[in-house]
């Protein structure tokens, strides 16, 4: 029997939810105050996933960076691989929010999209 302790993020209460697993299968969930705790624990144990947000370097843009996000959740354990991929691409201005900048980040099948517009650099006026 494996035991895992999670903090539910459903509300400020932050219940410590205890999950008992047997060969990866949830056997028992306890410590929650409402059903949100159960849902949260099930998801966190079976498929912990996060949206990754970061920036991508821009060439020829009015700004040096464009903010980006993974369009869907990616597995939690692939976050740093996503960051590596994100670090290794350069986007060319102009960029519009929603533009796909990486097709399949860290082999997750998830796209990385721009979350902001970046126009072309028209020469810095000083």
């Amino acid at each position: 029997m494996e035991k895992k302790e999670l903090i539910c993020v459903g509300c400020p209460l932050g219940c410590v939810v205890n999950v008992e697993l047997e060969e990866g299968v949830i056997k028992n969930i306890s410590g929650y105050s409402c059903k949100r705790g159960v849902t949260y624990a099930q998801k966190e144990i079976t498929n912990p996933a996060r949206i990754v947000t970061s920036t991508i370097k821009v060439e020829g843009g009015e700004k040096p960076l464009v903010s980006v996000k993974t369009k869907q959740n990616v597995p939690k354990n692939s976050i740093f691989q996503c960051m590596d991929d994100i670090r290794n691409v350069v986007a060319r201005a102009p960029i519009t929010a929603g533009d796909v900048l990486i097709e399949n980040v860290a082999e997750t099948g998830v796209e990385v999209v721009a979350t902001k517009d970046v126009g072309i650099d028209v020469g810095t006026s000083t």
Binding site: T55, I56, K57, L65, R87
Partner: protein, 475 residues
């Protein structure tokens, strides 16, 4: 070979440089920091003292009174803000009253004008926020407030305009006495000079002791201060001191010439000549002692705290003049409070000594005045409009707390001995000095510095040396 080499570009060294620049002389100033006024000058009470503190007959008393008298003309010539707000030395107990009278008498014999002893009622009428437990005060209308950065930068700039060279980031490592003159070895290069002036602040003993066998000792005496927001800048109108009494030496509370309120200092003798770290005990002591003088110190309005080092000489006297056993080596050492007030007079005294020895002649083309950094807020609205139309950079506000525009920042960078760092900008035009303490404007100021100096943002420092602000690019 220089005629004169000054070690130290604090307020003392800069004042000496400016006075020397009246003469036909080939002189330079060496400064180990990246800018002028980075040592003892940087952090003190910013007070122009009236001159009742120092013992009668001392050089300190003489320089203080003389410096105070010079200030009116000097600030006009150098175009810097100065306010004669007057000072009050308050007495907190009847037992201490004799000391107040002693101060009064000393002031009179030192030549301080207009001194007056006030009753409790008179004091409270003048300063309603002072504590009810005050029993009386000594009022000195001739005391004032000034910005030590403004004064030092102006003195140095004016000296530079008049031909004195400045070498920054140049630290003196060794001095070799020649038959006539000296070789000064630094981390950068070797300098030779006939006369050497020691204005090295807390390091003045080390410099002095390199050439003289009559050793002196300078102890860094740390003073912790609190600076409060402009919203409480008029909490007191005058500079408030306390009579040193049964509770020890008190702290002062004063408006600053820029409209903040300053409270401090402590007086803690330390070993490390670079140790400008504040301590919790020090800051607590300042708050506790200030609480004795005023009714409710608005502690919540503190925007920053800092510590300065005073160059305390063991005999508590200025050492000014040629070292007895080192010809051509002129000390301006032990310059602690009232050093800021005295600096202009010390400048004159040291320049006189050198003039006599070298037979210097006055320059025909000495420029006595210097135009300060233009501040938009100092001119009427209609003129501001005209100016911004003409120079749009004055229309871009960079520091919102102190309303500093890009125009002023560019001026600070490009004028003689211009700013090279974030603190250099701050000291010249107050960007980052306000209530947000540079949170909003620092990225923008860094960008302007990098652009104007033609360097990378990675090379921009807070205050020279290894104080780089950012370490690498995100991407």
């Amino acid at each position: 070979m220089y005629d004169v080499l000054i070690i130290g570009a604090g307020v003392t060294g800069s004042a000496i440089a400016r006075e020397l620049s009246r003469y036909n002389v080939n002189a330079c100033v060496l400064e180990k920091e990246e800018d002028v006024g980075c040592g003892a000058t940087k952090a003190n009470s910013a007070i122009v003292h009236a001159g009742y503190d120092a013992a009668n007959g001392t050089l300190m008393a003489k320089m203080n009174v003389a410096g105070n008298l010079m200030m009116d003309q000097l600030v006009k010539d150098l175009d810097i803000p100065y306010r004669k707000n007057g000072s009050l030395v308050v007495c907190l107990s009847e037992e201490d009253r004799p000391k107040l009278i002693e101060l009064y008498e000393r002031g009179v014999s030192n030549g301080v004008k207009e001194l007056k002893l006030l009753t409790k009622e008179e004091v409270l009428e003048m300063e309603p926020n002072l504590s009810e437990s005050i029993v009386g005060a000594l009022y000195a209308p001739s005391a004032g407030i000034i910005c030590p950065f403004n004064l030092t930068i102006a003195l140095a700039e004016n000296a530079n305009q008049n031909g004195i060279e400045f070498f920054f980031d140049t630290e003196v490592l060794e001095i070799i006495k020649l038959g006539e003159g000296y070789i000064v070895k630094t981390n950068k290069k070797e300098f030779t000079t006939r006369f050497l002036v020691n204005a090295a602040g807390v390091y003045a003993d080390e410099i002095h002791n390199m050439v003289s066998n009559r050793k002196i000792k300078i102890t860094p005496r740390r003073g912790d201060y609190l600076l409060l927001d402009k919203s409480v800048g008029n909490y007191v109108a005058k500079t408030i001191f306390t009579v040193p009494g049964k509770l020890g030496k008190g702290v002062l509370i004063s408006p600053t010439v820029h409209g903040n309120l300053i409270v401090g200092p402590t007086a803690i003798d330390i070993e490390d000549k670079e140790s400008t770290a504040t301590t919790k005990e020090g800051l607590d002591e300042v708050i506790q002692k200030a609480g004795l003088i005023v009714k409710n110190l608005p502690v919540r309005q503190v925007i920053t705290s800092f510590a300065g080092l005073r160059a305390h000489e063991t005999g508590h006297e200025f050492i000014i003049g040629e070292a007895e056993d080192a010809e051509g080596f002129i000390d301006a050492a032990g310059i602690e409070s009232p050093g800021l007030t005295s600096a202009p007079a010390i400048g004159v005294m040291v320049a006189e000594i050198i003039k006599e020895k070298m037979g210097l002649t006055l320059k025909d083309d000495f420029i006595a005045t210097r135009k300060g950094i233009f501040n938009l807020n100092d001119i009427p609205l209609e003129e501001q409009k005209e100016l911004i139309k003409d120079k749009p950079k004055y229309g871009t506000v960079v520091c919102r707390c102190e309303t500093v525009t890009e125009g002023e920042i560019l001026d600070a960078i490009h004028r003689p001995l211009g700013a090279k760092s974030l603190d250099g900008i701050k000291r010249r035009v107050r960007a980052g000095m306000g209530r947000c303490q540079s949170g909003f404007c620092s990225p923008k100021v860094m960008e302007i510095l990098a652009r104007e100096l033609g360097v990378s943002m990675l090379d921009i420092t807070k205050s020279g040396g290894a104080s780089n602000l950012v370490t690498h690019r995100t991407k």
